[in-house]
Protein backbone atom coordinates (compact mmCIF):
# COMPACT_ATOMS: atom_id res chain seq x y z
CA UNK A 1 0.00 0.00 0.00
CA UNK A 2 1.46 3.36 -1.00
CA UNK A 3 1.63 6.42 1.24
CA UNK A 4 -1.11 8.10 -0.77
CA UNK A 5 -3.40 5.12 -0.13
CA UNK A 6 -2.71 5.37 3.60
CA UNK A 7 -3.50 9.11 3.57
CA UNK A 8 -6.64 8.46 1.58
CA UNK A 9 -7.73 5.81 4.06
CA UNK A 10 -6.90 8.18 6.94
CA UNK A 11 -9.05 11.05 5.70
CA UNK A 12 -11.96 8.67 5.11
CA UNK A 13 -12.01 7.24 8.63
CA UNK A 14 -15.31 8.13 10.32
CA UNK A 15 -13.70 10.55 12.77
CA UNK A 16 -11.63 12.40 10.14
CA UNK A 17 -14.74 12.83 7.98
CA UNK A 18 -16.61 13.97 11.08
CA UNK A 19 -14.02 16.66 11.85
CA UNK A 20 -13.92 17.93 8.26
CA UNK A 21 -17.69 18.13 7.88
CA UNK A 22 -18.40 19.69 11.25
CA UNK A 23 -19.12 23.44 11.24
CA UNK A 24 -18.10 23.60 14.87
CA UNK A 25 -15.41 20.98 15.60
CA UNK A 26 -12.99 21.92 12.80
CA UNK A 27 -12.76 25.64 13.74
CA UNK A 28 -12.46 24.65 17.40
CA UNK A 29 -9.53 22.30 16.73
CA UNK A 30 -7.88 24.78 14.36
CA UNK A 31 -8.25 27.66 16.81
CA UNK A 32 -6.82 25.54 19.64
CA UNK A 33 -3.92 24.51 17.40
CA UNK A 34 -3.05 28.13 16.60
CA UNK A 35 -3.58 29.62 20.05
CA UNK A 36 -1.57 26.96 21.89
CA UNK A 37 1.36 28.58 20.06
CA UNK A 38 1.39 31.03 22.96
CA UNK A 39 2.20 28.15 25.33
CA UNK A 40 4.68 26.27 23.14
CA UNK A 41 6.57 28.77 20.99
CA UNK A 42 5.73 31.65 23.36
CA UNK A 43 7.63 29.93 26.20
CA UNK A 44 10.46 28.91 23.83
CA UNK A 45 10.79 32.61 22.94
CA UNK A 46 11.17 33.49 26.65
CA UNK A 47 13.93 30.87 27.06
CA UNK A 48 15.69 32.17 23.95
CA UNK A 49 15.56 35.71 25.39
CA UNK A 50 17.34 34.38 28.48
CA UNK A 51 19.93 32.48 26.43
CA UNK A 52 20.62 35.66 24.45
CA UNK A 53 20.77 37.59 27.76
CA UNK A 54 18.08 39.99 26.57
CA UNK A 55 15.97 39.32 29.68
CA UNK A 56 16.15 37.48 33.03
CA UNK A 57 19.94 37.93 33.30
CA UNK A 58 19.86 37.55 37.08
CA UNK A 59 18.18 34.14 36.79
CA UNK A 60 20.10 30.96 36.01
CA UNK A 61 19.27 29.21 32.74
CA UNK A 62 18.50 25.94 34.57
CA UNK A 63 16.00 27.67 36.87
CA UNK A 64 14.30 29.34 33.89
CA UNK A 65 14.15 26.03 32.01
CA UNK A 66 12.61 24.21 34.98
CA UNK A 67 9.90 26.85 35.35
CA UNK A 68 9.12 27.13 31.62
CA UNK A 69 9.25 23.46 30.69
CA UNK A 70 5.88 22.22 32.08
CA UNK A 71 4.03 24.87 30.05
CA UNK A 72 6.13 24.37 26.92
CA UNK A 73 5.56 20.62 26.99
CA UNK A 74 1.81 21.06 27.55
CA UNK A 75 1.66 23.54 24.66
CA UNK A 76 3.51 21.26 22.27
CA UNK A 77 1.32 18.34 23.40
CA UNK A 78 -1.86 20.22 22.46
CA UNK A 79 -0.31 21.42 19.18
CA UNK A 80 0.79 17.92 18.21
CA UNK A 81 -2.58 16.36 19.01
CA UNK A 82 -4.67 19.05 17.28
CA UNK A 83 -2.17 19.17 14.39
CA UNK A 84 -2.58 15.41 13.81
CA UNK A 85 -6.38 15.77 13.79
CA UNK A 86 -6.22 18.68 11.31
CA UNK A 87 -3.84 16.68 9.12
CA UNK A 88 -6.07 13.60 9.19
CA UNK A 89 -9.11 15.65 8.13
CA UNK A 90 -7.38 16.80 4.89
CA UNK A 91 -4.49 14.35 4.62
CA UNK A 92 -4.06 14.06 0.83
CA UNK A 93 -4.35 17.80 0.15
CA UNK A 94 -2.10 18.81 3.04
CA UNK A 95 0.54 16.24 2.11
CA UNK A 96 0.86 17.83 -1.34
CA UNK A 97 1.13 21.37 0.02
CA UNK A 98 4.60 22.91 -0.43
CA UNK A 99 4.41 25.05 2.71
CA UNK A 100 3.32 22.05 4.78
CA UNK A 101 6.45 20.24 3.63
CA UNK A 102 8.71 23.20 4.44
CA UNK A 103 6.98 23.45 7.83
CA UNK A 104 7.75 19.79 8.59
CA UNK A 105 11.40 20.24 7.59
CA UNK A 106 11.70 23.34 9.79
CA UNK A 107 10.14 21.45 12.72
CA UNK A 108 12.69 18.64 12.33
CA UNK A 109 15.48 21.27 12.24
CA UNK A 110 14.07 22.97 15.36
CA UNK A 111 13.95 19.57 17.08
CA UNK A 112 17.54 18.72 16.12
CA UNK A 113 18.63 22.17 17.29
CA UNK A 114 17.03 21.57 20.72
CA UNK A 115 18.47 18.04 20.88
CA UNK A 116 21.96 19.34 20.16
CA UNK A 117 21.55 21.87 22.99
CA UNK A 118 20.43 19.12 25.37
CA UNK A 119 23.35 16.85 24.49
CA UNK A 120 26.15 19.36 24.05
CA UNK A 121 25.42 22.22 26.48
CA UNK A 122 22.81 21.09 29.00
CA UNK A 123 25.01 18.59 30.94
CA UNK A 124 27.73 21.25 31.39
CA UNK A 125 25.36 24.08 32.27
CA UNK A 126 26.92 24.68 35.71
CA UNK A 127 30.12 25.76 33.93
CA UNK A 128 28.58 28.48 31.79
CA UNK A 129 25.20 29.61 33.07
CA UNK A 130 26.63 32.09 35.61
CA UNK A 131 29.10 33.66 33.19
CA UNK A 132 29.03 34.64 29.55
CA UNK A 133 26.81 32.48 27.38
CA UNK A 134 28.95 30.45 24.95
CA UNK A 135 28.71 31.55 21.31
CA UNK A 136 27.30 28.11 20.44
CA UNK A 137 24.38 28.57 22.83
CA UNK A 138 23.64 32.02 21.44
CA UNK A 139 23.67 30.59 17.91
CA UNK A 140 21.25 27.86 19.04
CA UNK A 141 18.91 30.50 20.51
CA UNK A 142 18.93 32.52 17.27
CA UNK A 143 18.35 29.38 15.18
CA UNK A 144 15.52 28.36 17.48
CA UNK A 145 13.78 31.71 16.87
CA UNK A 146 14.38 31.51 13.11
CA UNK A 147 13.06 27.94 12.83
CA UNK A 148 9.96 28.50 14.98
CA UNK A 149 9.00 31.78 13.31
CA UNK A 150 9.49 29.91 10.00
CA UNK A 151 7.14 27.17 11.24
CA UNK A 152 4.53 29.81 12.17
CA UNK A 153 4.87 31.52 8.77
CA UNK A 154 4.62 28.27 6.77
CA UNK A 155 1.70 27.05 8.89
CA UNK A 156 -0.15 30.30 8.24
CA UNK A 157 0.76 30.43 4.54
CA UNK A 158 -0.25 26.82 3.79
CA UNK A 159 -3.89 27.81 4.46
CA UNK A 160 -3.80 29.99 1.32
CA UNK A 161 -3.05 27.00 -0.89
CA UNK A 162 -5.61 24.60 0.56
Amino acid sequence: MSLLNVLNWLQHTWWAVGIKQSDFVFPLIEGSHILSLSFSVGMVMILDMRLLRLSFRSQTVSSMMEQLMPWTVTGFGVMFLTGMLLFAAQAVKVYGNTFFRIKMILMVLAGLNALYYQLRYYPKMAEWEQARTPAGVRAIAVLSLVFWIGVIACGRTMAYEL
Binding site: G31, L37, G42, S55, Q59, P70, W71, I149, A153
Partner: protein
Protein backbone atom coordinates in the same frame (compact mmCIF):
# COMPACT_ATOMS: atom_id res chain seq x y z
CA UNK B 1 -19.38 57.00 14.35
CA UNK B 2 -22.12 56.75 11.74
CA UNK B 3 -22.24 53.95 9.21
CA UNK B 4 -21.70 56.31 6.30
CA UNK B 5 -18.46 57.51 7.83
CA UNK B 6 -17.20 53.94 8.24
CA UNK B 7 -18.27 53.10 4.69
CA UNK B 8 -16.50 56.14 3.26
CA UNK B 9 -13.34 55.19 5.14
CA UNK B 10 -13.63 51.63 3.82
CA UNK B 11 -14.04 52.89 0.25
CA UNK B 12 -11.10 55.25 0.60
CA UNK B 13 -8.91 52.36 1.82
CA UNK B 14 -10.00 50.05 -0.94
CA UNK B 15 -9.31 52.50 -3.73
CA UNK B 16 -6.12 53.87 -2.21
CA UNK B 17 -3.18 52.78 -4.35
CA UNK B 18 -0.88 52.73 -1.31
CA UNK B 19 -2.15 49.39 -0.03
CA UNK B 20 -3.29 47.66 -3.21
CA UNK B 21 0.09 45.99 -3.71
CA UNK B 22 -0.50 43.89 -0.58
CA UNK B 23 -3.82 42.63 -1.92
CA UNK B 24 -2.52 42.07 -5.44
CA UNK B 25 0.79 40.33 -4.76
CA UNK B 26 0.75 36.58 -4.27
CA UNK B 27 2.54 36.48 -0.93
CA UNK B 28 1.63 39.94 0.40
CA UNK B 29 -1.28 38.84 2.57
CA UNK B 30 0.25 35.52 3.78
CA UNK B 31 3.49 37.35 4.73
CA UNK B 32 1.67 39.98 6.78
CA UNK B 33 -0.62 37.35 8.33
CA UNK B 34 2.50 35.40 9.35
CA UNK B 35 3.93 38.51 11.01
CA UNK B 36 0.55 39.01 12.72
CA UNK B 37 0.63 35.46 14.12
CA UNK B 38 4.26 35.80 15.27
CA UNK B 39 3.29 39.00 17.12
CA UNK B 40 0.31 37.20 18.68
CA UNK B 41 2.61 34.38 19.88
CA UNK B 42 4.91 36.89 21.61
CA UNK B 43 2.01 38.94 22.99
CA UNK B 44 0.01 35.98 24.33
CA UNK B 45 3.10 34.00 25.40
CA UNK B 46 4.39 36.77 27.66
CA UNK B 47 0.83 37.53 28.84
CA UNK B 48 0.38 33.86 29.78
CA UNK B 49 3.60 33.80 31.80
CA UNK B 50 2.48 36.91 33.73
CA UNK B 51 -0.97 35.47 34.39
CA UNK B 52 0.39 32.06 35.39
CA UNK B 53 2.44 33.87 38.06
CA UNK B 54 -0.48 36.08 39.07
CA UNK B 55 -2.69 33.00 39.50
CA UNK B 56 0.09 31.28 41.48
CA UNK B 57 0.29 28.34 39.07
CA UNK B 58 3.97 28.67 38.13
CA UNK B 59 7.13 30.82 37.94
CA UNK B 60 6.98 30.99 41.74
CA UNK B 61 10.75 31.39 42.13
CA UNK B 62 10.36 34.92 40.76
CA UNK B 63 8.19 37.70 42.16
CA UNK B 64 5.42 39.11 39.97
CA UNK B 65 7.00 42.62 39.80
CA UNK B 66 10.31 41.06 38.66
CA UNK B 67 8.57 38.97 36.01
CA UNK B 68 6.64 42.09 34.91
CA UNK B 69 9.83 44.13 34.63
CA UNK B 70 11.41 41.44 32.41
CA UNK B 71 8.38 40.64 30.23
CA UNK B 72 6.43 43.90 29.88
CA UNK B 73 8.68 45.32 27.11
CA UNK B 74 8.31 42.08 25.10
CA UNK B 75 4.58 42.08 25.68
CA UNK B 76 4.41 45.62 24.27
CA UNK B 77 6.65 44.63 21.34
CA UNK B 78 4.34 41.71 20.54
CA UNK B 79 1.33 44.02 20.81
CA UNK B 80 2.85 46.63 18.50
CA UNK B 81 3.76 43.97 15.90
CA UNK B 82 0.28 42.46 16.07
CA UNK B 83 -1.60 45.75 15.80
CA UNK B 84 0.57 47.21 13.01
CA UNK B 85 0.41 44.03 10.92
CA UNK B 86 -3.32 43.81 11.68
CA UNK B 87 -3.84 47.30 10.25
CA UNK B 88 -1.88 46.22 7.17
CA UNK B 89 -4.22 43.24 6.72
CA UNK B 90 -7.29 45.46 7.09
CA UNK B 91 -6.42 48.48 4.94
CA UNK B 92 -6.04 46.79 1.53
CA UNK B 93 -9.22 44.73 1.90
CA UNK B 94 -11.58 46.59 4.27
CA UNK B 95 -14.80 45.35 2.62
CA UNK B 96 -13.97 41.85 3.80
CA UNK B 97 -13.85 42.93 7.44
CA UNK B 98 -15.93 46.06 8.04
CA UNK B 99 -19.29 44.27 8.11
CA UNK B 100 -18.04 40.95 9.50
CA UNK B 101 -19.64 40.15 12.88
CA UNK B 102 -16.62 38.46 14.52
CA UNK B 103 -14.34 41.28 13.29
CA UNK B 104 -16.55 43.90 14.96
CA UNK B 105 -16.62 41.82 18.14
CA UNK B 106 -12.82 41.53 17.94
CA UNK B 107 -12.37 45.30 17.65
CA UNK B 108 -14.75 45.96 20.56
CA UNK B 109 -12.99 43.39 22.76
CA UNK B 110 -9.61 44.78 21.69
CA UNK B 111 -10.58 48.25 22.92
CA UNK B 112 -11.64 46.84 26.30
CA UNK B 113 -8.52 44.62 26.49
CA UNK B 114 -6.20 47.57 25.74
CA UNK B 115 -7.89 49.76 28.36
CA UNK B 116 -7.67 46.93 30.89
CA UNK B 117 -4.03 46.23 30.01
CA UNK B 118 -2.79 49.81 30.42
CA UNK B 119 -5.15 51.13 33.11
CA UNK B 120 -5.46 48.08 35.37
CA UNK B 121 -3.18 45.15 34.52
CA UNK B 122 0.00 47.23 34.26
CA UNK B 123 -0.39 48.36 37.89
CA UNK B 124 -1.48 44.92 39.09
CA UNK B 125 1.66 43.15 37.85
CA UNK B 126 3.90 45.75 39.48
CA UNK B 127 2.70 44.82 42.96
CA UNK B 128 3.37 41.60 44.86
CA UNK B 129 0.70 38.90 44.63
CA UNK B 130 0.76 38.62 48.46
CA UNK B 131 -0.53 42.20 48.76
CA UNK B 132 -3.97 41.09 47.55
CA UNK B 133 -6.48 38.44 48.57
CA UNK B 134 -6.18 35.29 46.45
CA UNK B 135 -9.63 35.73 44.94
CA UNK B 136 -8.61 39.18 43.68
CA UNK B 137 -5.54 37.77 41.93
CA UNK B 138 -7.69 35.06 40.37
CA UNK B 139 -10.31 37.59 39.21
CA UNK B 140 -7.67 39.95 37.76
CA UNK B 141 -5.83 37.13 35.97
CA UNK B 142 -9.02 35.51 34.64
CA UNK B 143 -10.21 38.90 33.27
CA UNK B 144 -6.93 39.44 31.46
CA UNK B 145 -6.95 35.94 29.92
CA UNK B 146 -10.64 36.10 28.94
CA UNK B 147 -10.23 39.50 27.27
CA UNK B 148 -7.08 38.72 25.25
CA UNK B 149 -8.04 35.17 24.30
CA UNK B 150 -11.48 36.54 23.48
CA UNK B 151 -9.83 38.93 21.01
CA UNK B 152 -7.79 36.05 19.57
CA UNK B 153 -10.74 33.64 19.22
CA UNK B 154 -12.99 36.23 17.62
CA UNK B 155 -10.11 36.99 15.25
CA UNK B 156 -9.93 33.33 14.30
CA UNK B 157 -13.71 33.31 13.82
CA UNK B 158 -13.52 36.01 11.08
CA UNK B 159 -12.49 33.37 8.54
CA UNK B 160 -15.39 31.09 9.45
CA UNK B 161 -18.15 33.67 8.98
CA UNK B 162 -17.55 34.98 5.49
Amino acid sequence: MSHTLIDRFVQWCYYSKDYAFIRDSRFGVPAIQSLHLTGITLLLGTLLALNIRLLGLGFRRMTLPFLAEQLWPWNKAGMATTILSGIMVFLPDPTRYAHNGPFRLKMSLLCVALLYQFLVFRKVIRTETESRARWRNVALGASSLCLWFGVAWSGRAIAFFQ
